[in-house]
Symmetry: C4
Subunit: 473 residues, 4 copies
């Protein structure tokens, strides 16, 4: 029943596949990281240049954030921010360290735009008004004031009914590569938007900066882009490997189906027994299905990657994430697949058999726990959401509680919930103490009990022999 | 004995109830979050506008705080803070981004108030003196100085005997809704108080800003407030569901009592045995009691919610927390109740039976641990409270120690206790090492042992049959 | 053998004692916290007033610190700091919010002092030079400059051989109590020292501010200090309780010794057997010894507390810590003693018996682990100390490793060790991975195994009867 | 078979060795810490003096960093940084608190240098241009401007093709020792480099300061350096101890080999059996090998240490790390070796035997887990690297996941991955939940099961006797 005579061929293929696929992932990860880091750093540079109150502490993505949100609170500040951004845009190519160029039409630089969204008088609809800010006028002015400019154009920012304002402009960025192998620079069209968000209408106007980057063909007409030879080699190798592996697994699955049919017929004819669904499922080798899935994922991912590397079409940005998702999950499953070959050695088989054995119990048990967990989540979310950042949304509540079970920073959670209202204070204490005690001491211990039970069972099987399924009998 | 023929009806009701109740909670949580977030953001805006030394790092509720308390340390700073706040109040409607209006009487804007509490000369009593700061005078002045103003009115701030000072004023806030479905704006009366707290008399005068919000009827007389139809539907559905479920559970409980009486009589008549208290308690189905409780909680919560949504009375703010508490806990128990229906499937029953089995032992054991824990808490609180922020009060000491057992950030606790006094240093080390070693390695392991023991017992019962209670015999 | 007929009397006494002692601790903790918090806040106030570069972020004791040490790096900064402090001292009573008075002799305010410690030319000895800074001169000057003043007095700060400088002065502080029950204000003599520490001679001169507080008798000659009646009551009650309890325990211990003698004689006479040391130790009831110890601790602590509350002698500050240590540890042991009375109920006895049973094994095992732990500590300390703040000293290394076993923030430890030297990088990775894997997965699991083994043994004893000691036979 | 009659001699030697070696480590660690701390503090001082935007928050090595990287974003800032550094260098000996001297030739101070690396026009090569900044000219100028200076020398910084700039200079530092025992000051040659790094060409120019220190012979010609006597004594003692111990262990190993040969011959002659490789390996005592290794490590480390203490050659800096590595790992193994002597007591032997017993299973099992872990690592690295600082490189991904298993701050990991792209958001949630659940609940529990199984086996062996190896039979 153990199909060990087919072993050496496929194993070799799989070992080779795992190496090739991992190398491919490695190269791709480096490439992708460079790309995303460039965009991230550009956003940081622009924040420094266009946002008046930007500080480098805001560049760190920490939890909890070290700072409140960037916002303006007075009308004067609002105009100062606009003045700063407009002047920075006007002098961008002179003051910036990076290489940015203006878009221009008819030898005049394109103006930047400023738009505001208001309520109408009757509150029935939203109304968006826009104004162009000409480049040359700002450049010529010694001190440029947005307020004066708006007045001269009869453009008013009515703060009482204001919903949000946006200032946006486009520039071209040229990125020289530092490694000499591929000298052709990359060019991007950066659409930058400063957003002043007053939707909440609570006196706090949030300020943010967004950059959208799309690919541009550079001025240099010699598009001598040659893809790196090693990348191409790896791509082709991966495709071949995966297709081969896919074919062989499909063949095996197909043969297993044939065997199942003949077996069903055999049982039917000789024993007058029909096989149960679970018995029939045993013919469908879970491992082959796994390998098929990862082959398909990697093939799709590689195709997407080829598309990315050809770089012919604009706006290709969006597929980086999808592509890495396919390659990453494919790779994950390839490594999982290795367990199968380790399972051939009897001593290594324990993990897999124990997992298989305890899986149904663990799942059943998980369903019970999920009920309790869902109750705690919803209750905590409703009551604590305004008083604690970790309970802000349902998903963060889930993450917070899940983390608490696993020993996350509990005291910080306790201490931050110390609202002034004693009702909330007492509730949060009872809630957290009961949740942690119940889950950590009682429920996780039961998990342990279930798994150790399964391990003992498997060990007894090894000593006394496995129970036979009806097929084997 | 298993009452399974009544099953489909009630289960359906409960499943439906759980869905309705969860949707209700979902809608209410969003509504409440918006409300509390508005107040919170308003507090932030006002802090920026009225507090001289406010910085956005103070908006983050982190542990440990990133900053010391906001305080003034010299008399000059104190007057600067007052000047800043008074001027900001005077120009509020001009400079602020949000929509705030002054309260006014006889066409003059209401003055703001400044009060100070002193000791009297004989230290026998506290004395509070107040002064009004007229709006128009400040507005007219080019540079307004609190010190000069106080001098001109013969109002002195005697720092030597000063306990605290307060500056307060009232403004009206209008909140336009961003979603178009309910256009009627909300209006609030914001009573803002700047508190200068010198109670400790240690040269540090803490500064804080409090806002109390009460509902106002807006100027717009067309109070075309129509509650959202979906909210109303859900409210009504919830009420019906819960009442039905409550009725059915009460009926079941009542029937169980009847059964109990007849059973007691039966035993008394035929076996000359009286049933023990515990045997009689078995008639009272714990699950039905649970369902009754959650029904009652949700009904009360829904009634409160209806009150909140009608928005007719001022000062309704306070019931948001109570209402969410009732709905939240009710929902928690509803989800717990699901376990009962899962318990009908034998394989799922393990969790519940194991919990039931190990509960008495766990509780007894917990009492023992509580003694040790209380000793450590009191001792740590007394000795370490001035040297470590986590031991400041008894409740934080409890939270800190409880968190340490569960693997909280231990090193930070160690490192922050490094007082200069070597006695304290050595004590804190011995205290923490002994506490953690004892609780994590010894006591939690025993917990595990108790629960695994209960699990084994239950498993043996499944294999060998459950022991029978005297009733079943 | 179980001495249960003496039970009710002593239990009552102990229950009463625990209540009284806990109340005493509660009152004392509040009292002590107020006292230490006053000193701490005064230090914060003085830091704000006398240290030029002080910021409120430095008031938070966090790990890791949010800021580098407060230091001066140029000569100009050094003089600026001195100027700032001298001017602040000169105007202290005018600018400060708290109530501070100068010490004065002959109607002139005492001068402040400035001292510097140098190397001599030959490097053989240290030399300290001092200069007085007269109060009136600084007060009279419009802009006072330390550099000019030093020049005029021929006092030079030779930076090349400078070791450290100190600026110090004394002020009187008056603290009014906010609660009206005890109106007599407390007076302190605050000796404040600004330390400029250049011992490391690496271009960084650390700046610090120390305050030493001693008690002064206030001006007010009516020393109508009456100790609070409730505190006195509790003190007396505690003393009576503890003395009674001590007496009774001593009596019991004495009787047990008598019993031992007669028993030894009995065995010697009738069985010709001598009892082993361990058998004899069984006569000495561990619980009585525990109670005696905690009684003695609490009696000493209460005596110290009485001394503190009388407040007659100056310089009593130092006994606060000692006193709280005695009371705290005494209280801890009182609570531990409760376990004895719980142990009378058989079902509660499991914890205590299991602890007793597994203690020898746990200790033996701990010794083995200590070897491994010591090796890791010393090795990690030596190699990583300059590259990671957690490995700076041997004690922090121990705390860090101990915390890591218990699930402390591991990633932060990993990430901060990323030195530039690849040797250190690889070593730190191998070191941490091996340490955590070994201790968390292998050694802690063995702990669990030992304790569960002891629990099983005790459970078997309960089922099958305890093994008898030779005495019982 | 137990070689206990040789015991007292060697044990004594080992106990003595452990003491000596630990003392040596202690002394060396203190020495090394002082040295590295001096360099670190010098770097901090220079950062304050030469970097315009340096703040003391940057001195703390925290995770996550409290601040974004130090960088310049506009051309003006870039020149400001250079001006600041050049002026600071020119006035260094006047303004600094530490003792620094210029290098000078022909009585003129050595100039500092400024270099920039550009792309050439054709992008084919990199080009480095340098310019000297004369000391005297800057000193003479009232306000010195780098831009004007560069213009006057026809040196242009072409930002469009700029790769990086460097400003460097050399100074001599004299370090007086604070302890009087060794008065000879240490002298260092500090080569300081300010790096402006624009390799990424994304508008952000990172600024950094590096110091390289090499040893100089001081001016003082009396090189009366006498090594501390206690250090010398310890060094010599260590050498003797380790050599002795090494000799004895080698002898024992040699004898064991002799025994093996005779044993093999014996079996071969009398039983006609050849011994298996594993049986033969039993003759090679693992403990002796361990002791040999640690002796060799410590001897090498001590030799390196002697070299460091003689301080004759320049550039000796690099061996500090290597030396501490040898001594540290040697010490770690010495402590491990203690377990052997504890193993002679039968009750202490459990740990060692259990470890021995479960080792093969744990290793085999670890290999299985490694497959799963590798899959998760690669997948997480690829997909999340641009969105989360913890997944930036493969090694940090490994550390992050490994820490998560051990209960690291999970919520922070969750919360920081909240990218805007919903694909990434959902992936990161599924990824983290599945990883943690699988590893914490299932895989770690199996670890526990394996180890408790081994412990039970060993306990049974103790009760029933150990199974005999063929040799023992």
């Amino acid at each position: 029943w153990h199909a060990r005579h087919r072993f050496p061929w496929k194993l070799l293929l799989q070992v080779f596949k795992i190496i090739v696929v991992t190398i491919q992932l490695w190269l791709f990860a480096a490439q992708r990281y460079l790309h995303v880091a460039y965009l991230w750093d550009t956003r940081v540079s622009f924040s420094h240049m266009f946002l008046l109150g930007w500080e480098s502490t805001r560049e760190v993505l920490a939890y909890p954030p070290s700072d409140g949100p960037l916002a303006v609170y007075t009308r004067q500040e609002f105009y100062d921010y606009i003045d700063f951004a407009v002047v920075a845009y006007t002098n961008l190519s002179d003051i910036s360290i990076g290489s940015y160029e203006y878009h221009s039409a008819n030898d005049t630089v394109m103006p930047s735009h400023f738009c505001c969204e208001h309520y109408t008088e009757s509150f029935a609809r939203h109304l968006t008004e826009c104004i162009d800010i000409p480049w040359a006028a700002v450049r010529a002015a010694k001190v440029w004031s947005a307020l004066d400019f708006f007045d001269s154009r009869n453009f008013t920012v009515a703060f009482d009914t204001l919903l949000n304002c946006q200032y946006f402009f486009k520039v071209k960025a040229v990125k020289l590569r530092s490694e000499p192998s591929s000298l052709a620079p990359d060019c991007y069209n950066l659409t930058t938007t400063l957003v002043f968000d007053n939707d909440d209408r609570d006196g706090q106007m949030l300020v943010g900066l967004n950059i959208e980057a799309t690919v541009l063909s550079c001025h240099s007409d010699d598009d001598n882009h040659t893809p790196q030879p090693e990348a191409t080699t790896i791509n082709i190798l991966t495709m071949i490997m995966c297709c081969l592996s896919l074919l062989m697994c499909c063949r095996s699955l197909y043969r297993a189906q044939l065997l199942r049919y003949s077996c069903v017929t055999f049982f039917h004819t000789y024993y007058r027994k029909t096989l149960s669904k679970w018995d029939e499922l045993e013919f469908c080798n879970f491992w082959y299905v796994l390998i098929c899935i990862n082959d398909i994922l990697i093939i799709i991912g590689t195709l997407l990657k080829l598309g990315l590397e050809s770089r012919n079409h604009e706006g290709y940005m969006d597929t980086w994430n999808i592509c890495s998702l396919f390659l990453g999950v494919g790779n994950l499953l390839v490594w999982f697949g290795c367990l199968r070959y380790l399972g051939f050695f009897q001593t290594y088989n324990v993990l897999i058999l124990t997992l298989k054995k305890c899986l149904p119990n663990v799942l059943r048990y998980s369903i019970c726990i999920t009920m309790l967990f869902a109750g705690y989540c919803l209750c905590g979310w409703l009551i604590l959401s305004p008083y604690h950042i970790k309970f802000r949304s349902l998903s963060t509540t889930m993450e917070c509680l899940y983390s608490l079970i696993n020993g996350d920073d509990m005291f910080a959670t306790f201490s931050s919930t110390s609202a002034k209202d004693p009702v909330i204070w007492w509730f949060s204490r009872i809630y957290l103490y009961s949740f942690i005690s119940l889950f950590v001491y009682v429920i996780l211990s039961l998990f342990l009990a279930i798994i150790m039970d399964a391990y003992d069972t498997i060990k007894r099987y090894y000593a006394e022999g496995f129970p036979k399924s009806p097929l084997q009998k």
